[in-house]
Assembly symmetry: C2
């Protein structure tokens, strides 16, 4: 065991905890901003920390291609490279190989692919993924898996999951253990309860510092995702962090916390921020909408948003004028809103009030934006 | 007189001073970052202030078209709109009408033009320019002039200058005086000494809070620009600030300070920063150059750059990966370098050491970048 996970409070399936690492503590349930290419897009790293993020995610696929893991290692590792001294989780590269690269060929040994940047050929095996994440200096390393596409027949899902389980063993064998650094396995099995349970059995028999749920948020919809969580998280080890990969919108996160998930990552707050979409206590707000052009009110007075000193009219103007400050401010807002959401969720669980807190959050999102002036 | 200008020290033609305004003091010689569309591109306003800038420039042309001066006035003025409480100088709109708009028609009364954004038709007269700058709440308003193109025959330059002088009178007549707010006239006359002197006589007989030098940095080159300054600044009122519009690179600014100029504005530090070009104590450095890809050294250890905590390798990576943080960091660096340049120049003049300080600066720029590793 190289990471320590302490659970503080429980309400239903939900729980709060602290995951302690070499680079500091992660308060759970936690949301991890995505720093794809060694930067959380449009954000200074200090500003990411100021939103309240304890950990961020880096993408093995992007970093192995540019600037390469070897270069980052020569420069002292990913933390130093990007000026972020808190924990970093890196994905295994498997998901982006499937979604971004060209001319993939997959066999028992590895996946071979061409870079989407320059067409160069690369091989990613469990052993190479562990090596890359070690070179990056990742606090939490993810086992290499195959993200089973959706939809998949039960046969396809079984074959894919079983490959991922063999790769999980190879990942463990290749992972260089260090105190304060951890390795997570990834549960696959698509939407098939039996396969999910067999995947969990396979992973727990290997033993990991945490368990991720992969193969969701790939088009199955919130209802089906929650159904999978309903039978998946209760079967996962209770004393280890559970990480739902690639999720999601605030409402997805809330529902997954209620179903026992501890960690999340998603590009939605950053990507949406660059596209003028804000997440607020009143739901989604599109700042490009002309209704904001003359609106002197701040975006969301019910929250402690760091951009509340700006008017909606100004934010609208920045996006209309295609000014970089628009994406900068709205990314900052969204990341702050997500962290404020997690702070509120954690506090509610500690007080055994998650149920009423969740109801109030959902009512606010459903009520929608302020009436136009 | 609505602005107070106090001169503290002199060395040759150069001087240091303080221009006191409603929104605070401006230490001169001063460099004003350009905030075209109510934002200094890629910069939070707080970060602009942290670079040491006492004042920034807004563009009347851009703001009158989008979001419009009337809208900004309804929202409380430009300072409030963009969250900048220090002085703002707005140009008159004349320069950008000539360089950006379409289908211009100019007569004694005004210039009529079509917006480069949506083709809408607008009329800009001295009276309208004063009204717009008043609506914006500009600390320092510029008289409307015609920026004489370069090259221009003496006849063309005379006709253009004389129109600008009549417009300077109309600007003064239309300007609404308020304590702590000021109006600057603009000296024209192209590269003709007699015309420059006649322009200065015309403006001083009207009387302004400061005097700008227009029609330079339009392709005439540094040598000719300095020749014009050599006979222009000595003829300008000694007790009023002198503002060289649209200048320039660090070396242009230094030479102009030596020739008696007190204020500058230029898009170079911001535009160059977005394009991976840094201004440093070692001259210009292009971070896209492959020589930086593995370089762990900070950009410029001889200066107090706020981005010295990043390696050149990281900056190079950000530009190669087209990440917004690259423009954000290099804009911040360049604006900081410009302000550090002005701090050093002011301190040198106070100590009567501008000559040796200027020599050291020029030697550093000429020496060039560090040897590659």
């Amino acid at each position: 065991m190289t990471l320590t996970f302490t659970i503080h409070a429980r309400e239903g399936q939900a729980r709060t905890g602290t995951l302690s690492t070499k680079h500091g503590d992660i308060r759970t349930p936690a949301f991890m901003p995505v720093g794809t290419a060694a930067t959380v897009k449009a954000m200074h790293p200090e500003a990411v920390a100021e939103t309240g993020a304890d950990i961020l995610l880096g993408n093995t696929y992007h970093l192995m291609l540019r600037p390469t893991a070897e270069r980052i290692a020569r420069l002292g590792g990913l933390h130093k490279f990007m000026n972020w001294d808190k924990p970093i989780l890196t994905d295994s590269g498997g998901f982006q190989v499937m979604s971004l690269s060209q001319l993939r060929k997959m066999d028992e040994h590895a996946v071979t692919f061409q870079s989407h940047i320059d067409g160069s050929k690369h091989v990613l095996s469990p052993e190479r993924s562990m090596e890359i994440q070690h070179l990056l200096g990742s606090t939490i390393t993810m086992a290499l898996d195959e993200c089973t596409p959706f939809p998949a027949t039960e046969d396809v899902a079984r074959t894919s999951m079983e490959l991922s389980m063999r790769w999980a063993q190879r990942s463990t064998d290749a992972f260089q253990k260090r105190e304060g650094y951890g390795l997570f396995g990834i549960v696959q099995g698509s939407v098939y309860e039996k396969l999910r349970h067999r995947s969990i059995e396979a992973l727990t028999s290997i033993g990991f510092d945490g368990y991720a749920i992969g193969g969701l948020a790939v088009g199955e919809g919130q209802k089906m995702m929650f159904e999978v969580l309903d039978y998946t998280t209760p079967a996962m080890p209770a004393d280890k962090p559970r990480y739902l990969m690639g999720v999601g919108k605030p409402d997805d996160i809330l529902g997954a916390v209620e179903r026992g998930v501890d960690m999340f990552d998603c590009v939605i707050p950053t990507r949406s921020g660059r596209n003028a979409r804000a997440y607020t206590s009143m739901g989604e707000i599109n700042l490009r909408n002309a209704r904001h052009a003359d609106d002197p009110r701040p975006l969301d007075e019910a929250t402690n948003s760091p951009i509340n000193r700006y008017s909606r009219a100004y934010l609208h103007h920045l996006f209309k004028a295609d000014e970089m400050l628009g994406p900068m401010l709205l990314t900052q807002h969204n990341l702050h809103y997500y962290q404020e959401l997690m702070v509120g969720i954690r506090a509610a669980i500690e007080k055994n009030q998650l149920s009423s807190h969740a109801q109030a959050l959902r009512e606010g999102w459903k009520r929608g934006d302020l009436a136009a002036l």
